[in-house]
């Protein structure tokens, strides 16, 4: 498919972020953060709106460039990659957008087949259809194959968006607010889906969210981002029991909600 060969060592981290800085105009968004995502692990980045979560995930996928610091993904340092190399790396990373970002002029089948047919040559129509059906089944929407995105609910759009990223069999999944705007039942279904997909496709996931339930259910570790810095990184209980006043207020407010 491409010349890029990712590292396959089992204990090796798949994402390493070192002293990452990012500002927009005079506003400092990321203020020297460090983070590692290990193979097979799910890490949730929690934080209030505007705390820099989405900026972080956009730097990891190469949609934004950091001001300072390094980001290594599957052993490759992002800033040193040329466009072709970055595109080769992106084939191993799935990105699920907050608003799904489905192509509204294409139906579900075309949406999912599009990245596949554009990146993998010489696939027969039958092979493409089989692969699309396979990922659609894995997100539980096999019956929606010829629907248009405008005819789907928010939760269904999220699932199709995830299916679209799975078609290229990524090693890393990046979820940007996977449960935002969804009712509690649908949110729980998406959380379950994230866990199932991790087992089925053996992915490592970075989940950007402000939803405590999502973070607790789907992640091995949590990193709490506040004003561009991680206040605490650890498992849910460690972070929850922290004495830090910002962390306490974040959890208190979420539980009151």
């Amino acid at each position: 498919m491409n010349k890029f060969k990712p590292n396959s060592g089992k204990n090796e981290p798949v994402i390493v972020i070192n002293r990452l800085f990012k500002s927009f105009a005079n506003s400092k968004v990321l203020d020297g953060i460090d983070l590692e995502l290990n193979k097979g692990e799910n890490v949730a980045v929690l934080g209030r709106s505007g705390s820099g979560k989405s900026v972080l995930i956009r730097i990891i996928i190469g949609l934004l460039r950091q001001d300072k610091g390094t980001v290594r993904v599957l052993g490759k340092q992002l800033r040193q990659l040329k466009t072709k190399e970055l595109n080769a790396l992106r084939l191993h990373i799935g990105f699920s957008f907050q608003n799904s970002a489905l192509y509204d002029s294409m139906n579900v089948f075309q949406n999912i087949a599009f990245p596949l047919t554009m990146n993998v040559k010489n696939l027969s129509k039958k092979e493409v259809k089989n692969k699309v059906e396979e990922v659609l089944e894995s997100v539980g929407l096999g019956d929606k194959i010829y629907e248009m995105p405008s005819d789907l609910s928010g939760g269904q759009c999220k699932r199709i968006g995830i299916a679209r990223t799975l078609i290229l069999k990524p090693q890393i999944m990046l979820y940007d607010e996977p449960t935002s705007g969804l009712d509690p039942v649908t949110s729980a279904e998406i959380n379950e889906l994230i866990l199932n997909l991790q087992q089925q496709y053996n992915t490592s996931s970075l989940i950007i969210t402000h939803d405590l339930t999502c973070a607790k259910t789907t992640s091995n570790r949590i990193a709490l981002l506040n004003e561009g810095r991680f206040l605490k990184v650890g498992n849910f209980d460690d972070v929850f029991k922290s004495d830090n006043k910002h962390i306490k207020s974040f959890f208190d407010y979420n539980f009151i909600q």
């Binding site: 992106r90 084939l91 970002a101 192509y103 509204d104 990245p115």
Partner: protein, 262 residues
């Protein structure tokens, strides 16, 4: 003193914004020419957009071309009649339509219809992150979205300009035939009597340049849209206004250059 300094700062900020915009537009145009002639060509997309742009504008071009042909002839008749020179009407209409009206009116109509459509469509894709979704899937959105639309617009508008000239002359013929009684062959002979190679060549160049301008401006404004749904409206609006501005500037330059060879 303080006021003068702040004015200077404001001016320099405004100038720098304009210079950055010019640089970005120039970079976008260079990127188009780089990507337009390298593989993959996405021929299906070029044909799809060319067909859609051409077909959707056909009705409007037919109506406008025909009416302008009829009205222009009707309005010119009294002046020529006072000199007893109504026999010059076909020639006048031939020159007016082929040299100026065909490419210019087609371009103005398409700037409104096609340019705004492209600007709004790409703008909407930008603000709903569909363009980012392509990028993260290792698909070059510029090559897939911009290049086929610019090619499609350029080819379609070129063909529509020729079609406009045909329909405009048809409208003129019907009006002249009704009033003066002239057969089609005599009309065409008179209409093309004063049309030379330079006129036709200039007209074709204009059509190609205007089509390219509409495609490039529309895609540039849409591709760089921001500020949510409001940005989509702004992109569509600016695509029309900017394209029309450039079309008139280009008209002026092309006519001046053509006149050097007359």
């Amino acid at each position: 003193m303080h006021k003068q300094n702040s004015n200077q700062f404001f001016l320099s900020k405004k100038v720098s914004v304009i210079l950055v915009a010019v640089y970005e537009a120039f970079k976008f145009t260079i990127s188009f020419f780089k990507e337009a002639f390298t593989k993959p060509f996405h021929m299906k997309e070029i044909i799809k957009h060319g067909y859609e742009i051409g077909l959707k504008s056909l009705g409007l071009i037919t109506l406008t071309g025909f009416i302008v042909g009829v009205v222009f002839t009707k309005q010119s008749r009294p002046s020529l009649e006072s000199f007893g020179a109504t026999s010059w009407l076909p020639s006048l209409m031939g020159i007016a339509t082929i040299r100026a009206l065909g490419p210019l009116v087609t371009a103005l109509i398409c700037a409104g219809k096609v340019g705004s459509g492209i600007g709004a469509e790409l703008g909407s894709m930008r603000v709903t992150e569909q363009i980012d979704a392509m990028e993260v899937s290792s698909i070059n959105p510029f090559k897939y979205l911009v290049v086929p639309r610019v090619w499609g617009a350029s080819i379609s508008i070129f063909i529509l300009s020729l079609y406009y000239s045909f329909v405009g002359l048809l409208g003129a013929y019907i009006n002249i035939d009704t009033n003066e009684g002239i057969n089609m062959i005599s009309f065409l002979q008179s209409a093309f009597e004063d049309i030379g190679f330079l006129d036709i060549f200039t007209s074709l160049i204009k059509s190609a340049v205007y089509g390219l301008t509409i495609g490039l401006v529309g895609t540039y404004k849409g591709y760089n849209a921001s500020k949510g749904t409001r940005g989509v409206g702004i992109a569509a609006n600016q695509a029309v206004v900017t394209a029309i501005f450039f079309i008139f500037i280009e008209e002026l330059f092309i006519v001046q250059i053509a006149n050097l060879f007359r």
